[in-house]
C-alpha cells in the first residue's frame, strides 16, 4: 500500500472522501458512491498513481453492525503494476437500494467481479453491460451471502427422490 496514493486522493477529492486510515499499512479510503467512478478514474489515469489493475472487487454485508443506510459495502482493491503500490477504496450502500456505478469502463476485470457481487449480495452496478448471475443458476431466488438469507434454505433444481425429502 502507499501513503502517497491515499494523500493524493484525499487532496484531490477532499469532500468525497468520507474517512480514511492507514492501519497496519493498509491505506483505505471510504468514499462517496456518487464520486466513486471519478476517484477510480483519477487513480487509474493520474501519472503518479497509475493503478492499472483492479485486483479485487467484493461486497460485504454489515447487517446489525451498521445502520440500514450503510448496510452494504463494496470494496475495491487497486494495484499499480508500474509503481508497485496498492490502495483500497470502499463505498457504503443503503439496504433499500444497494446500487453503485459500474467501473467496467475503467477495468475489464470488473465484468465478472461485479456480477459475482450482484449474484451473492444483490448489489446493482449501474452501467454494467451484462449484469446477471455468474455462479448460481438463473432459477435461484434471493442472495445467499446476505446475512438474512435463511441458513437451511435449499433451492434444488432436481430431486429429492422419493423417500429422500428430509434431505
Amino acid at each position: 500500500m502507499s501513503k502517497l496514493v491515499l494523500s493524493r486522493i484525499v487532496d484531490r477529492f477532499g469532500a468525497a472522501v468520507l474517512s480514511h486510515h492507514s492501519d497496519c499499512g493498509d491505506e483505505t479510503a471510504l468514499v462517496s458512491p456518487a464520486q466513486l467512478v471519478e476517484i477510480c478514474r483519477f487513480a487509474k489515469e493520474d501519472p503518479a498513481l497509475s493503478c492499472e489493475m483492479l485486483m479485487d472487487l467484493t461486497g460485504v454485508d454489515y447487517l446489525g453492525l451498521k445502520p440500514a443506510a450503510g448496510r452494504f459495502e463494496v470494496v475495491y482493491h487497486l494495484y499499480s503494476l508500474s509503481k508497485g503500490h496498492r490502495i483500497r477504496l470502499k463505498v457504503e450502500l443503503p439496504e433499500a437500494e444497494p446500487k453503485v456505478a459500474s467501473v467496467v469502463p475503467l477495468w475489464k476485470s470488473a465484468l465478472w467481479m461485479e456480477r459475482e457481487a450482484f449474484d451473492l449480495y444483490g448489489i446493482k452496478f449501474d452501467g454494467h453491460p451484462d449484469l446477471r448471475r455468474i455462479l448460481l443458476y438463473p432459477e435461484f431466488e434471493g442472495y445467499p451471502l446476505r446475512k438474512d438469507y435463511p441458513m437451511e434454505k435449499r433451492q434444488p433444481l432436481i430431486g429429492p427422490r422419493a423417500g429422500r425429502e428430509h434431505l
Binding site: 448460481l136 445467499p144 435449499r154 433451492q155 434444488p156 433444481l157 430431486g159 429429492p160 434431505l167
Partner: protein, 183 residues
C-alpha cells in the same frame, strides 16, 4: 447350483429349435434360471467394472492414488476408466455436487446402459459433508440411487478398495434378468 444332469438334459432336449419364439424361450430359461450361468455372469461383471469417474473436487486426487500403482485397484478388474458414460457400468461420483450440477449428474447416470452401479466417493458426495449450505446437494442419493458409500474426507485408499470389494460381492450375488424383458 444346477446339477450337471440338469444341464445336459436341458441342452439335450431343448437345443433344437425351429422358431424365433422357441429360441428366445430357450435362452431366456437357460440364462435366467440357470444358477451356474448366473454365477458366471456375476463373476464376470464383478471383475470387469468399467468406471466412469465423475470427478468434481479434491477427492479426485485420492481417487488417482487408489487407481495408481501403489494401491492399484485394477487388481480387482476395474482396469479401464471410460470417459463416456455410454461405455461404463460403474459411476464413481468423486467430490462435491452442487445443485447447479445435479441435473448434469443425473443425465450422466441416465446415459449409462444397464446394468449399472454407483459408488459415492467421499463425504461430500455422500452427505454434503461440511458444505451444509445453500449450494451443495446434501448427498447424491437424493438424485440418483447409490450402491456403496465411502466415508472420509478424503477416504483412505483402503476404504476405496473395501468399497470396491463390497460392490463386487453385491454384483456377484445379483440375480437380475440377464436378457432384457420383452413386453
Amino acid at each position: 447350483m444346477a446339477s450337471s444332469d440338469a444341464n445336459s438334459q436341458l441342452l439335450g432336449n431343448e437345443a433344437v429349435v425351429t422358431t424365433l419364439a422357441e429360441a428366445e424361450g430357450f435362452f431366456r430359461r437357460f440364462l435366467n434360471k440357470n444358477e451356474v450361468v448366473q454365477d458366471i455372469v456375476g463373476w464376470g461383471r464383478a471383475w470387469s467394472f468399467f468406471q466412469y469417474p465423475f470427478v468434481t473436487a479434491c477427492c479426485g486426487m485420492e481417487y488417482m492414488a487408489a487407481a495408481g500403482p501403489r494401491y492399484d485397484y485394477s487388481r480387482f478388474g476395474a482396469e479401464l476408466p471410460r470417459f463416456s458414460p455410454r461405455q461404463a457400468d460403474l459411476l464413481m461420483v468423486v467430490g462435491t455436487i452442487t445443485h447447479k450440477q445435479a441435473p448434469v449428474l443425473r443425465t450422466v447416470f441416465e446415459q449409462m446402459a444397464d446394468p449399472k452401479w454407483v459408488i459415492s466417493f467421499g463425504v461430500c458426495a455422500s452427505s454434503g459433508g461440511f458444505y451444509r449450505n445453500y449450494t451443495t446437494v446434501q448427498g447424491i442419493d437424493t438424485i440418483i440411487p447409490v450402491d456403496v458409500f465411502i466415508p472420509g474426507c478424503p477416504p483412505r485408499p483402503e476404504a476405496v478398495l473395501d468399497a470396491l470389494m463390497m460392490l463386487q460381492t453385491k454384483v456377484r450375488n445379483d440375480r437380475r434378468p440377464l436378457l432384457p424383458v420383452v413386453k
